[in-house]
């Protein structure tokens, strides 16, 4: 941000004026169709699908209880009013009723917990991946390293390493230029993965906590400096999926998106070959945005040293 504190007061007024002007522009340019507006994004992995279904199931159960409980409450509000001459009853205790409305919710909870438990166990199973990628959170961008993990694809992308930085321009962010459809959700180097393959993501961070989150893949994993955590996904559809850092990490927290491009296996191999050729030919590793800090410490040594 290039605005300075000394001009804050006038900039507030200017900002309000600009936002009024921008609201007109926005209303006209509202052709952007999001994948989802009221619900979880359309899932493209089995886990994300399970999460989606779990959410629907529990929403429906809660909805039914909600209607039953508040049906009773609003009926009482309607019928048992003093103004319609209703006389108060005297009851104030009933052990049977108390036991019923303790036990029945408990049983309903078990009904909910069962599929949830199975999903938790599936989510935690990061074994036997086809491809392993380390995602490192920096203030404020992501670094990706394709590792020599296990599985068939361990050689294919081994050694590919790059940063992924927000590509939305400062002019767009400060309302000096019209906003792109992928405003704040676009990066210079996207993470490329093959469709139908189990991708294991190792997360860590260089400075503070971050979280690697792609809603359509059903993956959110904190990135913790000095520690390595893992998660996994198997994308079922070719396409581009966007997410954001989900753990407050300082002033640019809202400006370090994650973009995953799922390619067919063939395209992925071609992309990887190209990328590796560029790297081994001694082309400079894709550098960070000008002025960004050079990666250091734990994460950095892991990046280069293996």
């Amino acid at each position: 941000m290039n605005r300075t504190a000394r001009s804050r007061a006038p900039s507030i007024l200017a900002g309000i004026a600009a936002s009024l002007a921008a609201s007109l522009a926005l209303a006209q340019g509202a052709a952007y169709e999001p994948a989802s507006k009221y619900n979880l994004q359309p899932p493209v992995t089995e886990i994300a699908t399970r999460i989606y279904d779990l959410n629907t199931l529990i929403l429906v159960i809660c909805g039914i209880i909600f209607v039953a409980v508040f049906g009773a409450m609003f009926y009482a509000i309607y019928a048992h009013r003093k103004s319609v001459g209703h006389q108060p009853a005297q009851f104030h205790e009933n052990t049977t009723v108390e036991i019923v409305w303790t036990v029945v919710p408990f049983l309903i909870l078990i009904l909910m917990a069962w599929p949830a438990t199975k999903t938790v166990i599936a989510m935690k199973d990061t074994s036997a991946p086809d491809l392993t990628i380390k995602a490192t959170g920096f203030q404020w961008k992501w670094g990706y390293d394709y590792l020599r993990g296990e599985g068939d694809l361990r050689e294919v992308a081994d050694g590919i390493s790059f940063y992924s930085t927000l590509s939305t321009t400062l002019e767009e962010r400060t309302n000096a230029r019209a906003k792109d459809a992928d405003y704040l959700l676009d990066v210079d180097n996207v993470l490329v993965v093959p469709v139908g393959k189990k991708v294991r993501i190792l997360t860590t961070a260089n400075d503070v906590l971050h979280a690697w989150w792609v809603p359509a893949l059903g993956v959110k994993q904190d990135a913790i400096p000095g520690f390595v955590r893992d998660t996994w996904f198997r994308a079922e559809k070719v396409g581009v999926y966007r997410g954001q850092c989900a753990e407050l990490c300082g002033k640019e927290h809202g400006f370090m998106p994650i973009v995953v491009e799922v390619k067919s296996l063939e395209d992925f191999r071609a992309w990887a070959a190209e990328r590796r050729k560029a790297t081994t030919a001694g082309a400079p590793a894709p550098s960070a945005a000008a002025g960004a800090p050079v990666p250091q410490t734990v994460a950095a040594s892991a990046r280069t040293g293996n």
Partner: protein
């Protein structure tokens, strides 16, 4: 909130009392101190509200308009800290001070001087929080949860926040010791524990929670402080520490804290519903047990705030099951309230409107809480606006609405005047409508993938953010109406009877309105 005019008439101990400002500084009277707590929390509520409106203004549209991202983070952080520790918690302590002695037939709180001290710790702490905006680097900007390593990076604003939290915590602990001692030792003859009003019960349990967890918070933030300045490495992996350790400690405090802010609200609502249904509370005993169960369970669910840190599956499952269990006693409470209303003879004065609004809207927050308890769903929704919506449903529509309900319910006792019923009802309807306009759409934002604590967002989130901001301004302005109603009631209005509510029961309604400066100097006898 100023039932103190009968000062001279109410007692005569033959010694002079200070007047003017010195009266308030030196007072040991539970009613004076309760009044100060309530005004203090209302002022902090307005301060926190202004911060919220500033950040909602930035979020009115995509793009950066009003504040820099770093200032935005300061706004979210300080909004949270001020509302939790400056507004909601002191407000409930204010209610405890005013009402507990009146409800249990005690002449005052057990430790009157400590009571004065626990109040007067608050203004310096609040001053530290406000001053922190003006130190180099500005106020703390790491979120109200103060997670390291980010909180290690902050400027001196973080130190001021930590010191303020230490002071506020000390105040809370003293207040809690006072409440526990008062309730356990100073009940009127014949008032057994199981005859106590539920407000006293919920506060007794809350006070134990406070005593248990405030020192834990103090420990956590002290470790941050020493990590910042004295080269300890509690939370620094390079020195053998672990950032996640902080989260475990913080949430061991943080989850009981959630119930600290809601259990007294349950108590207030449990007083009001029977009064306006003209029917005894249904299931008193089970209400007490449900409150205790919630308090005990609150100690074993903390890690549901951190499902995404990468725990083993067994830990995730344990915390999921334990969290889901809380739905059972909470459900029992809601069922009991509805059963109390059932076949009553209800009228809907403002306290009852807020109590019904509380049940309705709080329960929606309960349902989203259950959804968030399910680990796989939480992993999708953690740190999104869905969580923001959830905790505002339980903290605003829960705690705050109960505070409003209690204020309208006891204002006649505090001031000796009836408040303006029409304006009170208007306050309720505007509050409940604008509350939902503000926060209901945030569920959609979170589900569709908007992270929380971001100063700017993708275009797909624009409409709902605009709606939310409009609702926030409506809600904020509505609270000025509340201030007007309260001030109007203090300054005059119809004379309130000793018991202005037809169905209200309890010792507080046996003393005159306004309550004289000293009450129950001779303990009443409970049948």
């Amino acid at each position: 909130m100023q039932a103190t005019h009968d000062h001279a008439a109410g007692h005569d101990h033959g010694h002079a009392h200070p007047t003017g400002i010195m009266r308030w500084i030196t007072t040991t009277n539970h009613k004076d101190i309760g009044t100060m707590y309530l005004w203090f929390s209302f002022v902090m509520f307005l301060v926190g509200g202004v911060l919220a409106l500033l950040l909602r203004t930035e979020l009115f549209q995509p793009g950066m308009q009003v504040v820099e991202p770093e200032v935005f983070n300061q706004l979210t952080t300080m909004h949270g800290v001020i509302m939790v520790f400056g507004a909601i918690m002191p407000a409930f302590v204010g209610f405890a001070n005013w009402m507990l002695p009146l409800q249990i037939g005690a002449p005052d709180m057990a430790f009157a001087r400590m009571n004065n001290w626990s109040f007067w710790l608050l203004p310096p702490a609040a001053a530290l929080l406000v001053i922190s905006f003006f130190v180099p680097g500005g106020a703390a900007a790491g979120g109200w949860t103060l997670y390291p390593p980010l909180s290690i990076q902050m400027g001196p604003g973080m130190d001021l926040a930590i010191f303020a939290l230490h002071i506020l915590g000390a105040s809370s602990i003293m207040g809690s010791i006072n409440i526990v001692t008062t309730i356990l030792n100073m009940r009127a003859p014949g008032m057994t524990l199981m005859k106590m009003p539920l407000f006293a019960w919920t506060w007794l349990i809350t006070a134990y929670l406070l005593i248990a967890v405030m020192p834990v918070l103090a420990g956590a933030i002290t470790m941050v402080l020493t990590d910042r300045h004295f080269d300890t490495h509690f939370f620094n992996a390079a020195g053998g520490g672990d950032p996640v350790l902080f989260q475990h400690i913080f949430w061991f405090f943080g989850h009981p804290e959630v119930y600290i802010m809601i259990l007294p609200a349950f108590g207030i609502v449990s007083e009001i519903i029977p009064a306006f249904a003209r029917k005894q509370l249904f299931g008193y005993t089970s209400m007490v047990y449900a409150t205790a169960s919630i308090a005990i369970l609150s100690f074993i669910v903390w890690a549901h705030h951190m499902f995404t840190v990468g725990m083993p599956a067994t830990a995730q499952l344990f915390f999921m099951f334990a969290t889901m269990l809380i739905a059972v006693p909470t459900g029992v409470k809601v069922f009991n309230w509805v059963a109390t209303m059932w076949r009553g003879s209800m009228t809907f004065e403002t306290p009852m409107l807020f109590a019904c609004g509380f049940i309705f809207v709080f329960t929606m927050g309960g349902f989203t809480g259950l959804i968030l308890a399910i680990t796989p769903i939480d992993i999708q929704l953690h740190d999104t606006y869905f969580v923001v919506a959830h905790f505002h449903y339980v903290l605003v529509a829960g705690s705050l609405f109960a505070l409003f309900a209690g204020t309208y319910y006891w204002l006649p006792k505090w001031t000796g005047h009836m408040y303006d019923e029409t304006l009170g009802k208007l306050h309720f309807w505007l509050s409940v409508i604008f509350f939902n306009v503000t926060f209901f759409v945030q569920h959609f934002l979170g589900l569709a993938g908007m992270p929380r604590r971001v100063p700017d967002y993708a275009l797909q989130f624009a409409d709902f953010n605009m709606i939310s901001t409009i609702g926030a301004f409506g809600f904020g302005l509505t609270q000025l109406l509340f201030l007007y109603v309260v001030v109007k009631c203090i300054r005059g209005g119809a004379k309130a009877a000793d018991c202005p509510w037809e169905g209200a029961r309890g010792l507080e309604w046996t003393v005159p309105s306004p309550a004289p400066y000293h009450t129950f100097e001779t303990p009443p006898v409970v049948r």
